[in-house]
Symmetry: T
Subunit: 145 residues, 12 copies
C-alpha cells in the first residue's frame, strides 16, 4: 500500500512559528512519526509540501500508478482552489482531507472546502494527531475497497 501525504501552503512553518497554536513539533518531526505509524499498517508513506498551487497539482498528477491513497492538508487552498479538486478527481485516487486545527472554530471563510464532498472522509482539530487519525482512516478504507 503506497500512500502520499500532501501539505499545502505555510504548513512548512508548523513547529517553527506560532507554537502556541500548532505545538512545537516541526513538519519533519510529524512526518517521521507518521512514517513509522504507516509502517505498522504495512504501508509506505511519501511526503510532499509546497506553497504553490501549481506544484501540488503537478504532484497529484504524477501520483497516478504509484500511489493508492492520498492524505491532503491543502491549508488555505482548501477553501479557494477548484483546480486542486479537479486534479484529485482527475487522477481518481481516494483521498482523505485533514486539518491540524478545527476549521469550524476559525474565520467563516475557512468553513467551506472545495475538497470535502469528494473525499472519503474528513478529520480536523486534533493537531498533529489529525494526521495519524486520517492515516488510520485511509488504510482502513483501502483495505475494505
Amino acid at each position: 500500500m503506497d500512500l502520499l501525504l500532501i501539505n499545502g501552503p505555510n504548513l512548512n512553518l508548523v513547529g517553527k512559528r506560532e507554537p502556541s497554536i500548532y505545538g512545537s513539533q516541526t513538519l519533519e518531526d510529524i512526518q517521521e512519526e507518521l512514517f513509522n505509524v504507516a509502517k505498522e499498517y504495512e504501508a509506505k508513506l511519501k511526503f510532499f509540501q509546497s506553497n504553490s498551487e501549481g506544484e501540488i497539482i503537478d504532484c497529484i498528477q504524477k501520483s497516478v500508478g504509484s500511489i493508492d491513497g492520498i492524505l491532503i492538508n491543502a491549508g488555505a487552498y482548501t477553501h479557494t482552489s477548484i483546480a486542486l479538486r479537479d486534479a484529485l478527481l482527475g487522477v481518481a485516487i481516494p483521498y482523505v482531507e485533514v486539518h491540524l486545527s478545527n476549521i469550524y472554530a476559525r474565520e467563516e471563510f475557512r468553513h467551506k472546502s472545495f475538497l470535502s464532498d469528494k473525499a472519503i472522509g474528513l478529520v480536523c482539530g486534533f493537531g498533529p494527531m489529525s494526521y495519524q487519525i486520517a492515516l488510520q482512516g485511509i488504510v482502513s478504507y483501502l483495505k475494505q475497497a
Copy 2:
C-alpha cells in the same frame, strides 16, 4: 478515563436498514467492537442512544462528574439543535463530533453543524470506522490535557 458515546436520532437503525449505505454492522456490533478498542486505550466506554432531543440533553447533563470525554454522533440534530450545543457547553466536557457518512457529500442542509465550532475535532465519512478514529482522537486529546 471514562468516555461516553452518544448516538442521536435514527442511528439505532444502523445495520438494520439501508445496508448499502451504512453496512450490515448493527449499532450493537459497532459498540461492542468500540468497547474493546477503548479497553486497549485503558478507557471505559459507555453508550447512549435516543431519538429524543430532550433525552440526549438529560443524558449529557447527567454525565457531569463521571465522564471525561464525549463522542457524539447527533445525527440530524447536529444541524438543528442549539439546545444540544448548549448542553455540551454547559457541562464543559470535551467532545468530538462524529458522523458515519461524509456529511459534505449529502444535502446542503447537512453541511452546517451547531456542534463543530466548539468540538475538539470532527471526524466523518469512514463508516463505523469513524467511531474508532474519533475514539483515538479523544483519548489522545485527554492524555495531553
Copy 3:
C-alpha cells in the same frame, strides 16, 4: 393495505381551539370519519399523535413491517425536523405530506418543508378534507406500485 396517519405537535388541539381557522371537528371526529373512508378503500388506518419529535420518530421506526403507507401532518416539525425526514427515509415506507391549512398562505418560515421532496405527494389547504384527499392519493399510489 395497512396505513398510518401521524399527526404532529399541537394537532391534538384541532377542533378545540381556534375553531374559526380549523373548524369545530376534533381530531377524534376527523379520525373516525377517515377510518370509515379508509374501509371503503379496503384499507386499515391506524392513528398516532404526539407533541414530541422523538416519539414520532420512534413511531415511524416501529411501523416497519406492519405499515404499507404513511399519511403525515408533521405540523411545525415539517419546517424544522431533519430527524423526521431521516426516519421516514430510513424505514422506506411511502408517505404523503398533508396540511390542514394552506402553508403557503402563512408565515414564510412555513413555506419550506424537510419532508416534501421525498414524499409521494403533498396535499394542503382543504381543512379536514385534506386528509381524505391525501388518503385517496396514497391508496391510489399503493395500488399502482
Copy 4:
C-alpha cells in the same frame, strides 16, 4: 356546479413524450376520465389548454359568470407568471393548484409558485390522479362555501 380545468404550457405533451415520467395516458384520456368523475359529483367540467400565457389569462377572464371553480396546472408559468396570479385574483373565482409531479422533488426554481398563497389548496405528486384528488377538493370546498 361548473368547473374549469386549465392546463398550461407543454401539458398537451403528456402521455405523448417522456412516458416514464408522466405515464402513457394522454391529456385527452385524463380529461375524459375526469369528466366522468366530475359527473358523479354532479359537476360539469370544461377544459382548456394553451402554451400561451396571454391566452390562459384571456380564458380566465372569460370564465367570470359561468365558472364556479378552477383547477389549474399552470406548468412552468406557475413559477414565473405574476400575470396569471393577477388574472385569478381579478376574477375572484376559487381555484386549486395542481401538479402531476412533486414540484419539490425537482429543480429549485420549481419550488416557488406565484399561485399557491392565494389558492384554496395545493395538490401535487400523484400523477394523473392529482387531478382527481384536486377535483374532490374543489367540489368539497364549493359545497361548504
Copy 5:
C-alpha cells in the same frame, strides 16, 4: 405629437372587477378622458391593451416612425418581462412607466421593475389619475427634447 398608451395584462378588467381597489371607471372611460386631456396638450393619443407579452412587443415594434412617446402600464409584466424592456430599448422611443396602484405598498415581488431604469420617469399610486399625471410628464419631456 403622437403618443401611445399601452396597458398590459388584466388591465382590461379595471372598473369591471375589484371596484374598491381600482374604482368604477372602466379602461374605456379612462382612455376617453385621457384622449381629451391629450388633445389639450395638442397631442394625439392612441391606445393598446393586451394580455399577451408577445402582442405587446409586436405593438411596440410597430410604433417606430409613428409614435413620439409611450406611456406604459405593463401590469404584471413590469416585474417579469425582460423582453418588453428589450422592445422598448430596441425602438428607442421615450417612455414613462405608470401604475394605478402604489406598487411599493403591495407584495415584494412587485417592487422590482425591468422597465424603470430606462424610463424617463415613473408615476404610480394615483389610480386613474396616474395616467393623466404621466401624460403631463411625457408631454413636458418631449417638448423640451
Copy 6:
C-alpha cells in the same frame, strides 16, 4: 387646501451645481413656479428645506393642524431615514414622494425607499416638472378624499 413641499439634504444646491443633471433652475425658481401652479388649483403651497434630518422631522410634526397634504423630496434621507417615515406616519398627513431624477437609473442603494410604501404615490424622473406632476397628484387625491 394647504400644502407643504419639503426638500431634504443637498436640494438647496439644485440649479447651482451640476446643471447638466439638474438643469439651471434654482430651488427658488422652481418653488416660485410651483407656488403659482398651486394657486391655480386653489391651494396654498408652503416650502421647507433643510440638510438636517432632525429639522425635517420637527417641521413635519409642526404641520399637524395646518397642512392638508405634503410633497416630499427627502433626497438621500429617502433611502436611510426610518425616522422621517415615522414622523410622516405619526402626523398622519397624506404625502406624495417626489424625486427630480429617476432613482432607479442610479446607484442600487437609491432603489430602496423608506417612504414609498406608505405614500399615496410616487413621481420621479421628470426633473423640476416632477414637482408639478406630484402637485397635481396630491391635489387630485385630496379633492377625492
Copy 7:
C-alpha cells in the same frame, strides 16, 4: 391571577454550572424569590422546566383554563422551535419572552426568535432579575387587559 413560568432546555443548570456567566443562584433559588415577588402582586406563580420540546408543548396545552399569563424562557428552543410558537398561539394565553443573558450579544443564531413577534413583550440581559422585570410586565399587562 395565575401565572406560569416555563424554563426550557439547560436552564436547570443555572447556578450549578458556569457561575461566572449566570451567577450562583440556582433555578430553585430564583423561583423561590419570584414566588414571593408574585405574591406581592397578588399573583400565584407556578413553575415548569423541561429539556424536552414535546413536554413543554404538553405543559402549555394543559395551561388552558387555569393560567392567565405565561413567562417563558425557552432557552435554545427560542431560536429553533416553531412548535412552541404554535402551542402558545394555540392556547392564546398572553406571554412574555424572557432571557437571562443579552441574546443580541451572543452568537448570531441567537438573534432570531420564533416567539417574540407574538409575545406581549421581551426582556433580556438582566440575569435572574430579568424574571422579576418580566413578571412586573405581565402583571401590569394583565391588570390593564
Copy 8:
C-alpha cells in the same frame, strides 16, 4: 444614583398622536411618573428628547461624569445610527435599550438594532410600563456593579 432617560425622534408625539397604539399618556406624564418611581429607588432621573441624531450624541457626550446609567429609547435611530452606538460606547456609561412597542411585531427593518449587543439588556413591548421595567433593570444592575 444619577440616571438619564433619552427619547429619540418622534417620541415627543407619544400620547398626542396615534393613541390607539401608544395610549393617551403624554411623554411628560410618563416622565413625571417615572421620576417618582426613580425616587423610590433613591435615584435621580433626568430627561432628554430630541429629533436630531447629532443633538442626542451631544447629550450623551455631556453625560460623562454626571450620569451613572442611561435608559435609551432611540426610536427609529435604533435601527440606523451607528453614531449613537459609538457615542454610548465612547462615554462607557452602562445603558438599557427600551421600546414602547414590541419591535419584533413590526416591520422587518425594526428587528435590527445597533444598540442592543452592547446594552446591559433590552426591554420592549409593555407600552409606557416598559420604562418602569427598564428603570428597575438599570437600578438593579448598578446596585450590583
Copy 9:
C-alpha cells in the same frame, strides 16, 4: 440532417435598429447566409422567429419527427422562461444556445439562462458569426451521435 433556427423576441429587429450594436445585417440576410453554410454541411436549415413565448413553444413541439437539432437564440426569454426549457426537454431534440452579444458583458439579469444547463453547448458574443459557429457545433455533435 434537418435543423431549425429559432429566434426569440426582438431578434426580428436585428440590422434594422441599433446597428452600432448588432451590425447592419438583417435577420433575413443572416438566415440566407446561414442556409448556404448549412448546405455545405449537407444540412437543411429552417427558420422561425416570434415575439411570443407561446408560439415558440408551439413551434418546438411541432418539430418532433422532422427536426434533428435546434439552434436557439431565445433573446430575453432565455433568462425568464422555464416553459421554453420544458418544451425543449419535452421534445428531447438536441439544441445549442446562441446569443449575438456577450450576455456576460451586459446587465446581471442576463447572466442566468434557463436553457444552458440542458443544452449541448453555448456560443455567444460573435455577432451574426455566433450562428455560424453554433451551426458548426450542432452539425459536429449530430454527426458524432
Copy 10:
C-alpha cells in the same frame, strides 16, 4: 492651496476617552500638528467637527469656492450617510477618506463606506498619523491635477 479637515461624530472625544484605542492626543493636539505639517506643504488647513450630519453637509456646501481639497473622517456617518456622499459629489471638491482605526478589523457594518468609491483615495489604520498620510496624499493629488 486651501484644505479642509472634517471630523464627524464622536471624533471630538479622541484623546479624552478610550486612550488605549485612540491614544492620548486630543483632536486639538492632532489638528495643531497637522496645521504645521500642512504649512510645510504650503497649504492652509482649516478644521471642522460636528456630531450632526446636517451641519457637516452645510459645512461641505459652504466650502465651494474657498476650499481646494477635503480630508474627511466621517466617523460612523461613513457607513450610513448617503447625504454626505451627495454633498461631496454636489460640491465636486476632491476628497480623501481617512480613518484613525483599521475599519476592516472592526464590526462588519464598518466595512462598507458610502464615501470611498468617489474619493481620490482611502487611508486608515495608522491612528493620528492617518491624517498626516492623507494630507500628503491630497497635496500630492492637487499638485498633479
Copy 11:
C-alpha cells in the same frame, strides 16, 4: 495572424484520464488538429499549457507584440483567478473563452467566470470541437477588426 491557445490546470490530462467525459483524444492530438485548421485560416497557432496560475500570467504578459488573439481554456482558474483576468486586460489582446464541457451543466461554482465579461465571446460544451469553433470565432473577429 498569430494566435495562442492557452490551456490551464489539469487540461494536460485530457484524453489520458476520464475518457468517458473528455473522449480519448489527448491534448497533443487536439492541438495538432487545431494547428492544421488554423493554417487553413492562414493563422499561426501556438500552444501553452500549465498547472500554475503564475506561469499562465507570465505567458500572457510575454505575448505582447507577437500574438494577435488568444484562445483560453483556463480550466478551474476560470472561476477563481482575478489575476488571469488582470493579465488579459493588461496586455489588451482580444481573447475567446473556451471550455470542453458545458460548465453550466456542472457544479454551481463553475457557473461564474472572471473572464467572460471581458472576452469577445464564449464557447463551451462541444468537447474538443469547442476549440475549432472558438478558433473560427477569433479568426472571424480579427478579420473584421
Copy 12:
C-alpha cells in the same frame, strides 16, 4: 529598519501598459524613488515582485529575521488568496496593504480583501504616491512600536 515591498501579479506591467490608468512610471522607476525616500527615513527598502502566489508566500516566509515591516500590493491576490494572509500571519511581521488604484471604485469583487483586517493599515487610490504614503505609515508605526 529593514523593509520589504512586495508587488503581486501584473504589477510588473505598471508604466508599460495602460498608462492612462497607471501613469508612465515603471515599477523600476517607482522603486528607485521609494528606495531614496526610505533612505531619508533611515530605512533600507528591498523589493520583490512575482506573478506566482506560491513564490510570494516563499518570499514572505524567508523574510523572518531580516525584515521589520512589509508593504504589500498583492494585486488580484488581495481578493482571492487566503494563503497569502496565512503567510503574513505566520511570520508575524507587521504589514501595510497598498493599492495604486482606488479598489472601491472598481468591480465589486475588488472590494473584499483577505489582507486588510490583519494589516496595520490600508492605503489606496493615490497611484505611485500610494507607496510613499504607505512607507510613511509603516515607518511611523515601527518607530512607535
